[in-house]
Symmetry: C2
Subunit: 197 residues, 2 copies
């Protein structure tokens, strides 16, 4: 409909999550009509990030250095290791601001149906790290989904003989949530995990 | 929080319309974790589009050639000229599929408060085109906003002495719309522009 270059730009924008044909058209025309400087900057940033960003050698999160900022930070508690599924989870926990230990990022979860096994999510590297570093507690913070729970269970089984405490983050009613709008599974979990006061 | 290159990518993605900090983070991590091929392709498409895409010499729409596909198409009726605000409007009308004439794209609308005058939206070029080409009717299809209406009125005044019919697209209740949910202004317009059957 438009010229080939504009059509190509629209179809390339579709690789962004949550961007359908209408949004892609709006984005392409916005960039070309009103923000060519921003578009050029975006092209450069994309290129540089793809070239430069790899995985942290220790925790597997995304970084352009060999070790990410958190792994290099000597003020973080080396005795605590939090296992999460994605770099976005690291960011969410960091923004909460209370956790002072280190991380290990699986970059996925066990999912036999998609052909994702323990070797794909770095379980061997995780176990090796538990043996080499002075870790006393592994906190499993995978998502509370079927796959996330299965992954947490698998890791806890494998870590049993390694002389570390394995814990799972608590699940229950979120702060500020109203009971009326909480799903049944969460409520059931909140009751079964109740604590005496 | 992340490494500099990832932070830079996130902030660059903010130039896209409708993308806030959370979406930008999601997009950046998605591209780096799961779709580096798509990201590289997007960077290339952006670069090529910025370099290659300019304005059509005749109708001012976005194109990488001197004349856009519609202006070059000799089967389009040269007697009809539709004036729209943006290239996206051209696309919307083309998708409706009934209009067979040509276009003129203002790339904006009159807006004295933002310092946008007639020279910024190519009014002189439009009037020149009306004199040089065998146009018999100008269809004003600017948006039904205050600025769009003012722009349509201004063009109709300037085109009066040029021996062309000037018309405005109809405004009223959209097809498939339910009266209950139509705003008062549109309803008032639909009543005042009623046609006898």
């Amino acid at each position: 409909m438009f010229s080939p270059l504009i059509d190509e730009l629209m179809s390339s924008l579709r690789c962004l999550p949550g961007v359908g044909p209408k949004s892609a058209q709006r984005m392409a025309l916005h960039l070309l009509e009103r923000d060519r400087v921003g578009a050029e900057r975006l092209a450069r940033s994309l290129h540089k990030a793809i070239e430069g960003v790899g995985r942290c050698r220790r925790c597997r999160t995304l970084t352009e250095q060999e070790l990410c900022g958190i792994c290099r930070n000597e003020r973080r508690d080396p005795g605590l290791l939090c296992v999460v599924e994605t770099p976005a989870d690291v960011l969410a926990i960091e923004q909460a601001g209370t956790y002072q230990g280190k991380y290990f990022v699986l970059l996925g979860h066990l999912s036999p149906i998609d052909g994702v096994g323990p070797e794909d999510i770095g379980i061997d590297q995780l176990l090796q790290l538990l043996q080499q570093e002075p870790v006393t507690e592994v906190i499993l913070a995978t998502n509370p989904t079927v796959e996330g729970e299965a992954t947490a269970f698998y890791i806890s089984e494998r870590a049993k003989n390694l002389n570390v405490t394995v814990s799972r983050i608590a699940h229950g009613v979120p702060l500020g949530g109203e009971l009326e709008f909480i799903d049944g599974g969460t409520l059931a979990h909140a009751f079964s995990s109740r604590r005496s006061l």
